[in-house]
Amino acid sequence: MKLKIFGKLADIFHGNEYDLDSENVKSVSELKVKLFEKFPELKESTFLIIVNGVKANDSKIISISSEIALLPPYSGG
């Protein structure tokens, strides 16, 4: 499962993409569990999870074909 990583989260993931082992990841809540396990610092971060261009809540079903992105607060301009 490929994740796009933006902003300061790239410092945690050491890059703008991350390929997550997607076993047992069928929802956003399961994704979060796995991410927090791998990157405990993420628990201290504020971020949105975007699935196929739309902000997703925990119950959102995801699959290996979903486009998933992790967005910290915006700081353009």
């Binding site: 300061k8 975007i50 261009g53 910290p72 607060p73 915006y74 700081s75 353009g76 301009g77």
Partner: protein, 146 residues
């Protein structure tokens, strides 16, 4: 199908580009006022180190969708003749321009209020991030006030 305009410019926004944008509006004879906002990179001090540049990245597809939506909504709300948004990507040095918002209307109040609201919404709603490059090449992440 809606036509999504690109808003991204690689590198700084050149003042000549601003002049060319203004010139293009000469033929629009219903315009009475233009309002322009330009964001410039400021030499802030962070932990006693000077900011040298800001490196901007975007979640492009989503940013273009969002910018399109903001633009359409503000054109309708203020009855604008024109509205344009341009944002830099990549490294923009202190003193260079990274944001160019341009609104035009028959009367000044609409142009000015629309420009103001557009800048606010871009900062809050468009997925863009600024990485502040400090003079020792360390970095921090820019945070917009909410």
């Amino acid at each position: 199908m809606k036509k999504i305009k690109d808003i991204f410019i690689e590198g700084p926004i050149n003042p000549i580009f601003v002049a060319e944008s203004i010139t293009k509006h000469t033929v629009k004879t219903t315009i009475g006022g233009h309002s322009i906002f330009l964001g410039q990179i400021r030499e802030d001090m962070i932990d006693k180190k000077k900011v040298q540049a800001i490196h901007f990245t975007a979640y492009k597809e989503m940013a273009l969708e969002k910018a399109h939506e903001i633009r359409e909504e503000i054109i309708a709300k203020y009855g604008l003749t024109c509205a344009h948004i341009y944002h830099s990507l990549g490294e923009i040095k202190v003193g260079e321009i990274c944001l160019f918002v341009f609104t035009s209307a028959a009367h000044r109040k609409e142009a000015i209020n629309a420009c103001n609201e557009m800048v606010d919404r871009i900062k809050k709603e468009v997925p863009l991030w600024g990485k502040e490059i400090l003079e020792d090449n360390s970095h921090t992440w820019k945070e917009n006030k909410q």
